[in-house]
């Protein structure tokens, strides 16, 4: 219980820090929201008038606390670009990005678990060496580049999907689910490589421990030892790692959306930064930060659940 409270406390502090830093970053980077709204109609006089009506001429700290006050009552403000409440702008985008992240998480887990076990079982074999080699390459391929390759191979050469031809769930649920597989694979690929490597080494190090020798000496067969004892103990560090990967997957999704033309959080984040639409950017920042903090907490809690030694 004490642990959980501590966790919650650090969550709140983290979110505070993120919001302040985010707000401060916008005060520092060049580019004025009023100018962005007026675009080439921006004359010094018009900018001054608009800055005033947008409240941008108030001191930074006043604007921050104003924003914070609204944030606490669930008001994310109004988008500068769309002149609509921020939640109505990004609300429909979040499920898209979350779906992409969850789908790539499923793909990552479904592929990396059996692959790691297989590699651990056949350590040093031809297949293991091959997989390790490929993984070494995949690990260094950024997800957007994997996305470009996938678009080219499956979209232009094999024509199994229309690159950039995103369809929304409400238009065509089947088409949406199908289309998202390709970006999800792109996001998952580099992560699969990392996970296989981590899980395999975890299994290998568990295999060398005393209790494994004891199990063998009891007369259990190799497979049984692996699945019954080694795997579950090896999973403890891996679970923490997997949960942390989820945050990375959200980040990866945000970037890969650009390649696959997916109108999710990533797209709106990019255009909002370009357009200096701070209310929208801050809302997304808080969303991603919350996801990171929650992912971190979940990974700690699941490690506690799996490993009695961590519990108090």
């Amino acid at each position: 219980m004490k642990n959980v409270l501590k966790k919650l406390g650090s969550m709140v502090i983290t979110l505070f820090a993120v919001s302040f830093l985010g707000f401060a970053a916008f005060a520092v980077i060049p580019g004025d929201p009023a100018v962005m709204r007026l675009k080439t109609n921006a004359t010094p006089a018009a900018v001054e008038a608009l800055r005033h009506s947008m409240g941008l001429d108030r001191p930074f700290i006043v604007r921050y606390f104003d924003w914070l006050k609204d944030f606490f009552v669930g008001d994310m403000g109004v988008s500068y670009t769309y002149s609509r409440p921020v939640m109505s702008v990004i609300g429909s985008k979040m499920p898209v990005t979350l779906y992409l992240a969850v789908l790539s998480f499923i793909i990552m887990t479904a592929v990396s678990l059996p692959m790691a076990v297989y590699c651990a079982k056949n350590d040093g074999g031809r297949a293991d060496r091959f997989i390790s080699g490929v993984n070494q390459v995949l690990m260094s391929v950024p997800s957007f580049f994997a996305g470009i390759l996938i678009s080219y191979v499956f979209g232009i050469v094999l024509r199994v999907f229309v690159p950039g031809g995103y369809v929304s769930f409400s238009d065509d649920p089947g088409g949406f689910i199908y289309y998202m597989i390709f970006p999800a694979v792109a996001v998952a690929l580099p992560k699969i490589a990392v996970c296989v490597r981590l899980l395999k080494s975890s299994i290998m190090s568990e295999s060398g421990k005393d209790y494994v020798r004891t199990a063998y000496s009891r007369g259990e067969r190799g497979t049984t030892v692996l699945y019954r004892h080694v795997f579950w103990n090896a999973l403890i560090p891996a679970v923490t790692f997997y949960a942390m990967q989820f945050v990375d997957l959200i980040a990866g999704s945000i970037i890969t959306e650009q390649v696959f033309n997916i109108p999710g959080v990533g797209r709106i984040l990019m255009t909002s930064i370009e357009g200096r639409d701070y209310p929208v950017v801050l809302a997304i920042l808080m969303f991603v930060a919350a996801a990171a903090v929650i992912g971190d907490t979940v990974s700690d809690l699941s490690a506690m659940a799996l490993d009695p030694r961590i519990r108090e």
């Binding site: 009506s53 678009s151 929304s168 199908y178 033309n261 109108p263 709106i268």
Partner: protein, 509 residues
Amino acid sequence: MRKGMVLKKAISILLTAALAAGMCGCAGSKKSGVSENFTVGIPQDLDSLDPHMATAAGTKEVLFNMYEGLLKPDSEGNLVPAVAQEMTEKEGGRVYEFVLRPGVKFHNDAEVTVSDVKFSLDRCAAPNADGQPLVPEFSNIASVETDEAQSKVTVTLKQADTDFPAYMTCAILQEATADQEDAVPMGTGPYMFESYTPQDKLVLKRYDGYWGEKPEIKNVTFKIVSGTDTVVTDLEGGAVDMYARVLSDQADTLSANPDFQVLEGTMNLVQALYLNNDKKPFDDEKVRQALCYAVDRQEILDYVSDGKGTIIGSSMFPSFSKYYMPELSDAYKTDTEKSKSLLKEAGYPDGFSFTITVPSNYTQHVDTAVVISKQLEKVGIDAKIKEVEWGTWLTDVYTARNYEATVIGVDASNLTASSLLSRFRSDAGNNFVNFSDADYDAAYDKAMSETDDETRTQYFKECEKILSDKAANVYIQDMPEFVVIRKGYSGYKFYPLYVQDIAAIKPDR
């Protein structure tokens, strides 16, 4: 053993599910070829669906399909009657009378009334957040009167302005529905609103009650694509059928593809190395002229766009044929010696160094800056290139005027000469190059107060000549525009303004 089994099962279920999901979606993929549905890729989201509130040129060119003004521009750069049937100019351009065209309907089938017109004009004349009317030129309107019986609208100006019809392209909205305009656009154009998903797409369908020639393409989707990088993949993969303003190398790639046609027009931009006339050494006319002589425009065109584009010599592009002066494009023939001697006269025998600030999102402008910088080396000038992001450019360069030189393209917001020339008046709010010349101001003011069209045009030409003589900027070109359309469609029209006229595009029979 039990735990292992569960895990195995779980994984196999997941994999089967993923596969099954994959199978059912296959039907969704689109075949290339002509259909009733046409998808146009656009590079950025729409800033508003309300035509009066939209400021981005990229939004206006889309909304053109849904909205009309009393007049509208055609592809030749003329103003043609639209919601109005005829326009009469009185008192030397101080009073304009419009008679509405009978049978023009909004997309909810309600006929346009004179009070809708008055409402729309008043809406644009009302001051905005920045204190300016939505259409700045509307501050000149003294009154808008309506005569319902004759379906006539009379606009009286405070001061005569023969350019005024060009602003009458301002969209006519329905008074009853205008407060919902951003959510449910309601215009009188050939296409009507179907749906809009921010950051994703705008779907339009043909309006069967349209007063004019009805378009052939039934459904149009404007799909927001991530950026210019994915354009080729989006076209080749079949996600979009058309994309305007692809880059020169993308046009090359796509013209080799038998599924596409690449059309070439002009961007209608004045691309130049704009110089901050207030900053040393550009406050010296001789230095500016030296730069003009040092630059080889043809070489820029060759490097940046395979030799395509039109070399220009002042702030006017060829589509505005009435005002354009082709002779100015030869005003400064590349002449390194002359450039050097001008620099010597100005007190810079060994050249100098300065920075060209360019917006990094415009590849063509960045490339142009690179070529210019190389060319200037020959006369001993060291030009550094600083790439900045668009928001920074707008703030620092365009608004704060805190820069030495920049490469950009300046467009015209309407079909008047003043849309290109007004910014060089010494006191203009958007005079981002700080050009200041008493002769120019005088010539411009004469043009604006003149009501005789020919004399007025002469004054505007005088303005162009002054910009060239004084070397206000190093004028380069009106850039080529490449539009890619899937084969099987024809009739695409280039406009001298930002317009994508989908109604003009027809599937081949």
